[in-house]
Point group: C2
Chain length 417, copies 2
């Protein structure tokens, strides 16, 4: 696809984008050190075969920029080759830049460690190095027509607390680097990704407003191992609705009622989601998310399992793939392919006559009250209860009387509680 | 040279080994990520041209073992190619394994950082990974006839305090891994390298006994920026004699009076040693060290300067090379080449009828008193004063009456103070 025009950002009546977070089948992301195009080609063809339209890819920062003054062209060339291989099988590509954090591992260059310890969020020299890195990689991948988005980095809030920051510093840092990305690649979506502590954890130094304000879309990553699956089990309303809840929260957090939300990561982790429940979990989770009018796209985590010869991953990381390491299509992949095909046929589609549940807390203004909307909170439980009966919007109290706002959000009435 | 027989370890009448610590001219050690054999070949030929007989090389651990369960064969192949290129120009090779620490930068894999933080000195799983790494790399390089030594890692005590340890843990860790090296490569020297806090800093959790007991030789790294150059300037007795002092201290620390000492690193750092003084510093430092009967070899740090396009190095690290990054032979190289040629002609040679200065402190038994032999201590100042008049041994008080010991150490009389 060509560089998306502005219209591509806006909500449209067509089905959302569907993709996979690309985890190489052989050697995980370590394969950036031993790039094997034939293996990448095979992996990507498998994903295209599910009916997906894009992949999200994850270069590893310290291997590209091992010294603040050295950005390795060959490493960038390998990223570009990956993009081109995706194009061969009809996949668009979103590129995350600052990894950074991947599946419990933080990849950090020696120039921010030990003797050179300095926070990448606040140190002026490190930030200069990051601007150079971001601009260089963004410029390079923007040369490829099938790249549609750049994310500053995967869940960069995982890089705290090892890198000290404050909410103000985190915001300024992301604003600057998202600006750097946008300037280097004006035709692409410029995005900022945070895991859900940004919206749920009262003291977390990355704020809900960062999700809602920074970049061209709001991004959410829905992981039911965050506690939500303990509320009502693998197929309960809280669990199946969690992706939709996060999409809805992000939509409600934005001052722009039309700002779309990308469900950039969602997956079926063990042991929360057992083998027998996977298909129902996929159908339920994707189905509920598709009813949300804010949904821009959905990207499954992940494409491929992790070889158990690779050690030290949290147990649940090994089996998140749509495919095994030896290229077998798993039941989760079959279920996702069905959901994608249904969505392309308009089943289900966005629901624009939803009731709205007024949220009593403004976590933009009072981030210290984020626990009041987190899984298990009274508000969350009320939403989950209502969600049993169909799509349910979250309406900030400040907008409860704003008819134009409500209409823009697809809300036709407000609920009592 | 073939694998050294045991006799090669013992002190002999031939000139010591002379070499350089190999820092690639283009791209420093980052070139392991973009291995360019032609550039390595050119660098090594330059070193052979100075009359040196060996290089010490530094693979970067986390790029070879990015996951505890993954040791990259291609990275090992690049190490082997470097060894073979050295052979082409007649150079033997010492391989350091666990880098680890290089010129202020610590290279640590993601599996011992942040979410996976665990001390590499004490964690059982990390140690299992290190054994695998050490055995694999040692086995690989032992296949090459011009490899003569393995060092566990460059100045591994720099990896503390970021990795907690105690003196007992540090010792047990090194004993285990030196044993692993020796078992994997029984024909090679197995060695353990520590920077001089091990002998000078009272609270340092790596002890003098580790230097003197572990591995097949004692290793010392002489850096006059440790404070010694402040005592009497670039050409004073303390400064010119520091390498000899460390060699002598290491010899005195060993229970074996015949244990040789490798001056594995010595260099002429700015600003302590200015341009005008470099030749005299080299001649004086090398000349005094050559008079020490314990000296096994001398390896200059470093082969090549660091390109100033590479950022964040301490200022003094950039200009330590024998050659510039554009391959010009520096005055320090000319001075070293002269010293090497002289040494090969026996000028100067080991002095075996030295007076001995009795050391009042046994830092093996009382490591908390290491400051009493450190630069600037009364004992050190006395040694420096005597060194003005010629070679001077250090004799542990416990051995002061042991004629056989004194003879074995080349000491023919004891001094009053």
């Amino acid at each position: 696809m060509p560089h998306p025009p502005t219209a591509a950002v806006a909500r449209s009546s067509r089905a959302p984008r569907f993709g996979a977070n690309y985890v190489p089948s052989s050697g995980w992301f370590y394969t950036w050190l031993d790039f094997r195009p034939d293996e990448v080609r095979r992996d990507l063809a498998e994903l295209a075969g599910l009916g997906l339209d894009h992949v999200r890819i994850f270069p590893v920062w310290p291997w590209i920029q091992p010294n603040r003054g050295l950005i390795r062209q060959r490493a960038i060339d390998d990223v570009l080759t990956t993009v081109d291989l995706a194009a061969e099988v009809g996949l668009d590509v979103a590129v995350d830049l600052l990894q950074g954090h991947l599946s419990s591992f933080d990849f950090l260059p020696s120039w921010v460690l030990t003797w050179h310890q300095r926070s990448l969020f606040t140190d002026a020299d490190v930030r200069a190095g990051l601007r150079e890195y971001v601009a260089t990689v963004a410029t390079a991948v923007a040369s490829r027509p099938n790249v549609f988005a750049l994310t500053l980095g995967n869940e960069v809030n995982n890089l705290w607390p090892s890198n000290p920051t404050t909410a103000a510093d985190s915001r300024a840092w992301a604003e600057e680097l998202v600006g750097t990305m946008r300037a280097a690649a004006p035709g692409l979506l410029s995005l900022h990704s945070l895991f859900d502590d940004a919206v749920y954890a009262p003291d977390h130094p990355f704020h809900p407003a960062d999700v809602a304000d920074l970049g061209d879309l709001s991004l959410v990553h829905s992981w039911v191992f965050n506690g939500v699956a303990r509320l009502d089990g693998p197929l309960g309303s809280a669990t199946l609705g969690h992706a939709d809840y996060l999409v809805e929260l992000a939509a409600a957090l934005s001052s722009d009622p039309a700002r779309p939300v990308w469900l950039q990561e969602v997956g079926a982790p063990r042991p929360e989601i057992g083998e027998a429940d996977v298909a129902a979990f996929v159908a339920g989770t994707v189905g509920q998310a598709l009813e949300n009018p804010a949904l821009w796209g959905l990207t499954w985590w992940s494409s491929h399992d992790i070889d158990r010869a690779l050690l030290d991953f949290p147990e649940r990381e090994y089996d998140l793939g749509l495919f095994t390491v030896d290229h077998r299509r798993k039941p989760v992949a079959e279920a996702l392919a069905v959901a994608v095909a249904d969505a392309r046929a308009g089943r289900p589609g966005p629901v624009l006559d939803r009731p709205g549940l007024v949220c009593p807390v403004d976590v933009r203004m009072e981030p210290g009250r984020r626990d009041e909307i987190a899984p298990g909170s009274a508000f969350h439980r009320a939403w989950v209860e209502h969600r049993l009966h169909g799509p349910i919007a979250i309406v900030p109290a400040a907008h409860a009387g704003d008819a134009a706002y409500l209409a823009a959000r697809g809300v036709d009435r407000l609920l009592a509680d």
